[in-house]
Subunit: 147 residues, 2 copies
DNA sequence: TATTGTTATACTCTATAACTATA
DNA sequence: TATAGTTATAGAGTATAACAATA
């Protein structure tokens, strides 16, 4: 059902969320660029640093077509940050995984994302818990995530 | 200064913010696609629906190179959603503005962005005020915005 | 001289469709 | 036959550099 809330307070909060999103996204791109990575390359590298993943699965997580992953992994592989491994149980499948160097780059990238962490540090534990519960509710209200 | 907060609660909140950003971004792109617009085109149209803007200023707001705006406005103009007007005070400047049709598209686009508004409706006014203040603090803590 | 918008170029990301090698 | 990954293609967004018109 369409929820009708057009009071000034709600409108302001919606706009603020849009601002936070734009800000977060911009800073993520800039952090990636400092490592000579595009935003998408950084996202894939971060994914593979957490867990080696079949090509198709990467596409699902990024919500894009599988054919696009080929090129993205190609470019990461050409820089020695990622490698393709065979799947011992299905010879059609290729599992992309971060190399040692890729793991290091992913870690430095993660640590440089201070935008969210810094202002959060100004909050009390109580406020942080409140924010956490609020965000959970926002995320739980709609479509399912792709884990 | 680098703020060191790596306790589980802060880490979880940072991850949740990342999730909200990803979710917001995805839904924005989908809403734009329903009007046969790319995300960037939708952003520019939304900007021009609020206020006619010189080409260079659009680039500043989007934080990209001015040369890119030419093509984006070209495509919006080809569809009759935007038009270029001369600046009476400086003949070098072209002011991009939404047409009547563009205003309508921008309005429908705005109204279809329910992701943020719906879960927000579940909160009390008190909670909404708390969230607003929190988001303001987050946005105020870092680099200056481009108004 | 400096600035505005544009053009030209190269690269990346994207979806679509067709291909290959496996299953 | 169905699926995983790839290739080929076309469109869009991006940065860089060079250009014409105007300030």
């Amino acid at each position: 059902m369409a929820t009708e809330r057009t009071d000034p307070l709600t409108v302001e909060v919606v706009e603020l969320i849009g601002d936070v999103v734009a800000r977060y996204y911009t800073e993520y791109e800039q952090a990636a660029a400092k490592h000579s990575l595009t935003g998408v390359q950084a996202r894939v590298l971060g994914l593979l640093a957490t867990e080696p993943t079949p090509m198709r699965r990467i596409a699902q997580k990024l919500r894009c077509e599988p054919s696009n992953i080929t090129g993205i992994v190609d470019r990461l592989e050409a820089r020695g940050l990622v490698e393709r491994r065979p799947d011992p149980y299905d010879r059609r499948v290729k599992i992309a995984a971060a190399t040692e160097e890729g793991m290091g780059t992913a870690r430095r990238l993660r640590e440089s994302l201070d935008f969210a962490r810094e202002p959060l540090a100004q909050l009390t534990d109580e406020e942080r818990r409140g924010l956490r519960d609020l965000l959970r509710r926002m995320l739980g209200a709609g479509a399912p995530a792709v884990p």
